[in-house]
């Protein structure tokens, strides 16, 4: 049995008129530094809504000091590549997007990943991972639908 954590928030089951539920990671394996570098792009509106729930107050992600640590924590919770232990370097917020930068030691390119940011909130959430090696794309982007857990990153 698991215990449910109840969160005060507007129900997101019924979508509003303008849904744009899309997240993206550029996952670059740096062969010289032997690191995995993630640039995680999320929609700023969705992230702000979520951080408000977590902070329990109407926080704004582009002008609140607590936003970055909370956003980093959320990214680390919902994103995984193999057994990599990521360090969050920071966040950049523009009008529509928030991009988080994560880094982990990695001797080889990643084999599998999980990208569940907002997957539990919006049934139409789609997250994609673009794999790169030394900043060159390797293959097409892999899509994670709301129900997807771990997925292999084909070579």
């Amino acid at each position: 049995m698991r215990r449910l954590l109840l969160l005060a928030a507007t129900s997101s089951i019924l979508a509003t008129a303008h849904q744009f539920h899309f997240g993206h990671i550029d996952a670059n394996w740096n062969s010289r530094a032997k690191t995995l570098e993630l640039a995680v792009r999320l929609h700023a509106d969705d992230l702000e809504q979520l951080l408000r729930q977590r902070a329990g107050r109407p926080l704004e992600i582009d002008r609140d000091a607590q936003a970055e640590p909370l956003a980093c924590a959320y990214a680390l919770e919902t994103i995984a590549f193999d057994e990599s232990r990521f360090r969050c370097l920071g966040m950049k917020v523009t009008t529509h997007y928030a991009t988080l930068f994560l880094e982990a030691p990695a001797a080889t390119p990643p084999r599998r990943a999980k990208f569940r940011s907002f997957s539990g909130d919006f049934p139409d959430q789609i997250n994609t991972v673009q794999r790169l090696t030394d900043d060159h794309r390797t293959g097409s982007a892999i899509a994670f639908l709301a129900a997807d857990q771990w997925k292999p990153l084909r070579p």
Partner: protein, 772 residues
């Protein structure tokens, strides 16, 4: 560099242009006729309504009461349904949208499980102790003579059986009554609802999809009665509405249509202010913030009935609250006087008083320029519980500042953007009445495109979400990328698919493929042809081609019918010069080439060794002394006779300074696109080459472009202005250039920020933007 002999001067060009490998099996320029519906008398091959085009019509007379105590809607009305179709109808279908909140509705049944680690309280409440019991209670349906008609409710649709078949050209009048509980948006959100303000105990109501609406019946789908599940939008018929809205007498009501009885519902001061607003260059407050604040404490002493008439609209919505501030400004939309008005609570300020009405007028100006003159007398923006939703003449927009009255830059642009978007929906799909449930992109994509144009004329560098080609690349690269021409219900990710990608596609069509003049003419033609009519995607595709005089089938095919992306690669550049056959020119060139050739390692090491011929010079003969690069008399003679045999204009072509560059282009992504090249020459001069997409017409995977020039090329950049949504910038340069990743850029930026000199400078920076 390679030297090409000019034996047959044009063979060289020809062989380059055709030096292409096997054709790909699919012709990306194949015409769309086999896919598009066959033109007929209702919809022509040029994309215009046909000579027998028809559409149904429904006129409504409704009385509705808003119950502010129990949050209920109680309505009754008469509908006149006009059968303009060539078909005889035995029954009519009406939409009962409120039934998605009925106890046994499909909407909760088809919901998938939420994230159990973050279980939303409202969902729990709904599932456990306080389920919201919405949905219509429908009274008897009666014809004009008062006879009850048989009806059958199939979830969100209701069939009314006609007492006698309704022939073409006839009308049928019937009446019915209904009521339902309004959803509290904090618990059950949607496109309509009520918002409760705990601190003053008042509600804001945004009321939409609130009466049984005639389902559309048309030449393409017949009855459009797909069940409403809460996400798909609507397909509706035009008609005239006479609506009487009864609300507590301290409420302000904002509505579709023109208020018919201002003397009964407005104070003399409010009427005077409205009169002043008609000609004012700035918004005029009809209800001031102070008056709205005072009204929050009032208790109603009775009811008031507001009467609104709306002509030729496809729907009707309203909002009501005692919390409303109301501002208005008259605007002349190309000869049509319009009242632009905003209704918002004190919680919306200072954002709303500054931006809402201004954004309405800006939208009318820009959209009218690209389509048609705004035909309605009213344009309203309301702040309440709904994040962003459009209805004729009225829309609901959510963004608000924080409680302390400050707001971030993001909130500001969210408000301006959503007001432009929702007011813009008056044009698409409220007037150009496309079927939203079937083809979301046909209104959302076109509207997002126009929103981008309007935002870019709001202020310099307005941060638009959609429109710029680079914003859609990640979606187009992903395996979740569906063709735009996928039914809305089946699209995996509707946002990028139906809003972002078509907005980008139209922007590219305008800027890169057709140019602004041709595009704007064709787009306006489409808008005007289908104003107050119901277009389908083929009507749009055909109209754009018909009015621009351009075959765009390859464009529709690539951008709307496939899930391919754009990625053109500069594969290699080969330099050719002319072999003049003139020994005086060619021999020195050969000599130079030999001298410039690299010396092998052995040759370098062998050079200092003493040679036998040093000791025995008699071993050297003619061949050791002969200059192989000195032109021989026989060669000179041969050249002279060759030149004699050429025509005067052919002789001119023997120009040793002429370079022919063969640029090999590979279509990696699949979508064929124009090739935009910036060529930089050795003297630093840059030239732009804009090659139409038809370069790919014989071979869509690899082509070689010939660039003739007297100068030498230093570098080439593909898509230098980022106008084609090319997905991979790393193959867009010759010679290849490394492209910095987002991660690298962030790290560099962070490192420079740590630079103490920089930190010293940022100390003096102004406080964070956004706060007022």
């Amino acid at each position: 560099m390679r030297r090409a002999a000019l034996l047959a001067p044009f063979l060289l060009l020809a062989s380059l242009a055709f030096s292409q490998s096997r054709r790909s099996p699919l012709d990306k320029f194949r015409q769309l006729e086999e896919i598009l519906p066959t033109p007929n008398e209702y919809r022509t091959a040029s994309g215009a309504p046909g000579h027998k085009y028809w559409q149904q019509r429904a006129d409504y007379q409704i009385s509705v009461e808003l119950d502010d105590i129990n949050q209920r809607i109680i309505g009754s009305g008469t509908i006149d349904y006009h059968n303009n179709s060539p078909d005889t109808l035995n029954y009519l279908w009406l939409q009962l949208d409120q039934n998605i909140w009925e106890k046994h509705s499909d909407t909760p049944l088809t919901e998938t499980a939420p994230d159990f680690r973050r279980f939303p309280l409202p969902v729990a409440r709904r599932l456990m102790d306080d389920p919201f019991e919405g949905g219509y209670t429908i009274g008897p349906v009666r014809d004009a003579a008062g006879r009850e008609l048989h009806k059958h409710i199939n979830r969100t649709m209701m069939r009314v059986d006609l007492p006698a078949p309704l022939p073409p050209g006839q009308s049928f009048r019937f009446s019915l009554s209904w009521d339902y509980k309004i959803n509290n948006s904090k618990r059950v959100s949607g496109r309509t609802g009520a918002e409760f303000f705990k601190k003053d105990g008042n509600w804001i109501y945004e009321i939409a999809q609130w009466f049984p609406r005639m389902a559309a019946y048309n030449d393409v789908t017949g009855w459009q009665h797909k069940q409403f599940l809460g996400t798909g939008e609507f397909t509706l018929e035009f008609g005239d509405y006479q609506v009487k809205i009864t609300a507590p007498n301290d409420h302000i009501v904002a509505s579709t249509g023109v208020l018919q009885n201002p003397a009964e519902v407005l104070t003399p001061v409010q009427r005077q202010r409205l009169e002043r607003a008609r000609t004012s260059p700035k918004p005029v407050l009809i209800v001031t913030p102070e008056e709205a604040k005072a009204a929050e404490k009032s208790k109603p002493t009775g009811k008031k009935t507001w009467v609104f008439h709306a002509k030729n609209v496809r729907d009707f919505a309203f909002a009501s609250s005692r919390k409303f501030i109301w501002d208005a400004q008259g605007h002349n939309a190309g000869g049509n006087p319009v009242m632009a008005m905003s209704f918002y609570p004190n919680e919306g300020n200072p954002l709303w008083e500054r931006y809402s009405t201004q954004a309405i007028i800006h939208t009318l100006n820009i959209y009218s320029r690209y389509t048609f003159q705004y035909p309605y007398p009213i344009a309203i923006s309301v702040n309440g519980p709904v994040g962003g939703m459009e209805y004729p003449m009225i829309c609901f927009n959510g963004p608000r500042p924080l409680e302390d009255g400050t707001y971030s830059q993001r909130t500001k642009y969210a408000l301006i953007g959503v007001v432009i978007h929702e007011v813009g929906h008056n044009y698409f799909p409220m007037i150009v009445n496309s079927d939203e449930r079937q083809w979301t992109w046909l209104d959302e994509g076109i509207n997002s495109f126009l929103q981008f144009l309007a935002e870019q004329e709001w202020e310099p560098n307005y941060p638009s979400r959609r429109g710029e080609p680079s914003t859609i690349v990640e979606y187009m690269l992903s395996s979740a990328h569906d063709p735009i021409m996928t039914n809305s219900e089946s699209v995996v990710s509707l946002g990028p698919n139906a809003y972002g990608k078509p907005a980008t596609a139209l922007n590219i069509l305008r800027e890169t493929v057709l140019g602004r003049e041709l595009f704007d003419f064709a787009f306006k033609e489409y808008s005007r042809r289908w104003m107050f009519k119901r277009p389908m995607p083929a009507d749009f595709f055909r109209s754009m081609e018909d009015a621009s005089g351009t075959d765009l089938d390859w464009f529709w095919r690539g951008w709307f019918y496939t899930n391919e992306h754009v990625d053109i690669s500069l594969e290699k550049l080969t330099q050719y010069t002319i072999d003049t056959r003139n020994p005086e020119i060619e021999k020195p060139l050969s000599k130079k080439a030999k001298e410039e050739a690299p010396v092998t390692l052995s040759a370098q090491r062998n050079k200092p060794l003493r040679k036998r011929t040093d000791d025995y010079p008699e071993l050297l003969d003619f061949y050791n002394k002969w200059d192989e690069f000195a032109p021989l008399p026989s060669e000179k003679k041969a050249f002279e006779s060759y030149v004699k045999g050429l025509e005067e204009d052919e002789r001119k072509l023997l120009d040793p300074a002429m370079n022919f560059y063969a640029l090999e282009l590979k279509n990696v992504g699949g979508v064929v696109m124009p090739v935009i090249l910036e060529v930089e020459f050795n003297d630093g001069v840059k030239e732009e080459l804009r090659i139409p997409a038809e370069i790919w017409r014989r071979q869509s995977s690899t082509v070689t472009k010939l660039i003739p020039t007297r100068k030498e090329i230093r570098s080439i950049t593909l898509d230098p202005h980022l106008e084609t949504a090319d997905a991979d910038p790393s193959n867009n340069h010759w010679p290849r250039k490394p492209v910095k990743s987002k991660f690298q850029l962030f790290k560099e930026e962070r490192d420079t920020k740590r630079n103490p000199m920089n930190e010293g400078k940022t100390d003096a920076a102004p406080p964070s933007s956004g706060s007022n």
